[in-house]
Amino acid sequence: MIATLLIGLREGLEAALVVGVLLAYVNKIGRRDAAAKIWLGVGAAILLSLITGAVLTYGAYGLSFTAQEAIGGLLSLVAVAMVTWMVFWMLKMSRGIGGELRSQIDRALLGNGWGVAAVGFVSVAREGIETALFIWATTRATDTTPLLGFAAAVSGILLASVLGWLLYRGMLRINLTVFFRWSGALLIVFAAGVLAYAIHDLQEAGFLPGPFAAVPPGAGAFAAAWFGDAAWAFRVPHIIAPDGVLGVLLKGTVGFSPEMTRLEVIAWALYLVITLPLFLVASYRGARATRKETPCPPSAPAAASSR
């Protein structure tokens, strides 16, 4: 039961944390309407995943392994791109304004709020199908009543949601300028984890070279190092059990898993090394500058334009 619960926690944690930050963000700048839209996006993603999962589980056709990994991996890449872009876009637009003013600018910047809603949607949907398949599978449990397995899985996801909610509550308490910095930095750290996850999925499916593929004939020594056993960066499952509480929490927050491939680690490190300093430098510079000019708020597209 605990094992099932932990799986649910691991699968749900990353999404819950991202959504927590998003909600704190829109709340902090007083856009309750956007919060509602985020919930709508998250709800839609959950519903879509559950329905798709059920169809694939109980219907006539399942999803091939490769397709499943491709969807998870590519959607994760999309999520990373969206989160990164959102963070920098907000930063750029609200550069050089003190905290109080900035919140007003941001309020206008959010546009009609569908953008953040889309980030929420993708963050949940990226692993939604896999998680839904897992949840439906627990209803076919053998040793225990199906209901118990199902309850354990859902509890895990609820526990992830609680952690996301705690983060949200905590973030609401901090000073506005600090908050903007931290929310962005956290989102970048989460996104790095999601990126590592995506690389791993795509390696498993054979779209990228990795430990699950043999060295192609005629490959040089450099190329060969990216295939087979040489492709692992480290394997320490005997130190941190991947099914233990610590392993689950690490995986669900910063994307660390006890066995990582070199490509995964490189992508994760490159992403962090590039984006985090960029973001922090820009963010501090923005806070120090005391320019009085108010940038023209972009004409927010009319709400409900094309939907």
Binding site: S64, F65, A118, T142, E204, P217
Partner: protein
């Protein structure tokens, strides 16, 4: 980026996400679809028991039940034990999950990963038999074309061998010596294919040392060669380094023995022709490309043409050399379209040039019609030159399979 509104950007990204969904590939679930097979797997913390170790090609559903105390994963791996054909993760203790895969015939492995750790436990071989998964029509056409070539060569081989054997059995050694290299041409062009029929190649084309090493009777082309160039053979096997070879067969064969050995060679090449003509005979693309490379390796082998060991008594190695290169060239030419379709134009061009160089050099030594010089008159420097051209050709040839066979 500055002119794009965030909302529009997100919608675009969303579209990319949606596009990934169009990549979906569906597999029939258990109990549906034609000849769906279901195999039960019992996983635990220490074992991975797969109910059956073999199945028919097509759709296979593994129902994996976790009887252990740890979260488990189940993998189906390719023959290299690395490629993941399919996996199902997050099998909680006490629960059961399905993995459905579509596989063609071949060797696979199954394995479980209790606790999601490391190399897993209970790795076992899993064999899939039956029909190959459908290939693309274009590939089929290429394979059919090459199979046609192999058939034609065996059909030409039979009368050439018959004429050679007839002269030999009639005691017309002069004619037989002239026909010997000619009778081998068609065989040498398709040697790797002939080698697929395990027992035929040793009977037809084993050299004396090879036959002795494997404890097989010394028959076929080279047995007749030894008899036709007996003086050469006696001289050859009197050297101290060949002292350990038996000498009892270094005497002229009687007409009866000639008949026996000649008839067997004719029968063997006829059997080869029939094997190749059978509707069951087919090759894969990789067989063709690897065979092309194999033909070049044959030339360079320590007991091959380049060192002059192939026809150690007749010294007609240049005929075989040329035929091997011709066979490789035909194989490459047959798959050229696929290579170029996969973006291998540069490789194709390079191979064309290297083949032309090789043939140009071989032509300086003669031709089938005019006759080639005997290889014992080719000095070491000339042999080095031949080796250099051959190596220059082998090198791009080793990339052919990867360029043609995708995935």
């Amino acid at each position: 980026m500055s002119t794009i509104s965030p909302r529009r950007g997100f919608v675009a990204l969303g579209a990319i996400g949606a596009a990934t969904l169009t990549l979906t590939a569906c597999v029939p679930n258990a109990g549906t679809g034609a000849n769906a097979q279901s195999i039960a797997v019992t996983a635990s913390d220490t074992a991975c028991n797969v109910e059956a170790a073999e199945a028919q090609s097509g759709t296979i559903t593994f129902t994996v039940k976790n009887d252990g105390s740890k979260v488990n994963e189940f993998y189906v791996l390719g023959s290299n034990e690395l490629t993941i054909i399919g996996e199902v993760e997050n099998i909680a203790p006490g629960s059961s999950r399905d993995l459905t895969v579509q596989v063609g015939p071949g060797d696979y492995f199954t394995s479980c990963k209790p606790g999601m750790i490391g190399t897993g436990v209970g790795q076992a071989a899993f064999a899939v038999t039956g029909d190959a998964v459908a290939t693309t029509p274009e590939e089929d056409a290429v394979v059919a074309q090459y199979v046609g070539y192999v058939k034609t060569q065996t059909e030409e081989l039979v009368p050439q061998v018959a004429a050679f054997v007839a002269a030999y059995q009639a005691g017309d050694d002069e004619t037989a010596r002239q026909l010997f290299p000619i009778a081998r041409i068609n065989y040498e062009r398709i040697e790797p294919t002939a080698e697929q029929f395990g027992d035929l190649d040793p009977k037809i084309d084993y050299r004396k040392p090879g036959a002795i090493e494997e404890g097989l009777p010394f028959t076929g082309f080279h047995r007749i060669e030894q008899d036709l160039w007996l003086d050469e053979a006696i001289a050859n096997y009197s050297t101290p380094e060949k002292d350990h070879y038996p000498k009892d067969d270094l005497k002229p064969l009687t007409p009866e023995e000639r008949k026996e050995i000649g008839d067997q060679l004719v029968a063997d090449v006829n059997e080869l022709k029939d094997e190749v003509a059978s509707p069951d005979f087919t090759l894969t693309l990789a067989d063709i490309t690897e065979g092309a490379k194999g033909l070049l390796d044959e030339v360079a082998a320590p007991d091959g043409k380049l060192p002059g060991e192939e026809n150690e008594f007749a010294h007609t190695d240049l005929y075989d050399f040329t035929a091997n290169v011709e066979g490789a060239q035909v194989a490459f030419d047959t798959v050229r379209g696929l290579l170029e379709a996969n973006g291998g134009e540069d490789l194709a061009k390079q191979l064309d040039e290297r083949f032309a160089d090789m043939f140009a050099l071989l032509e300086t030594y003669g031709s089938y019609d005019e006759g080639f010089v005997f290889y014992d008159t080719v000095d070491q420097q000339q042999r080095n030159e031949l080796a250099a051209k051959l190596t220059a050709l082998s090198e791009p040839m080793s990339k052919l399979t990867a360029g043609v066979v995708q995935g």
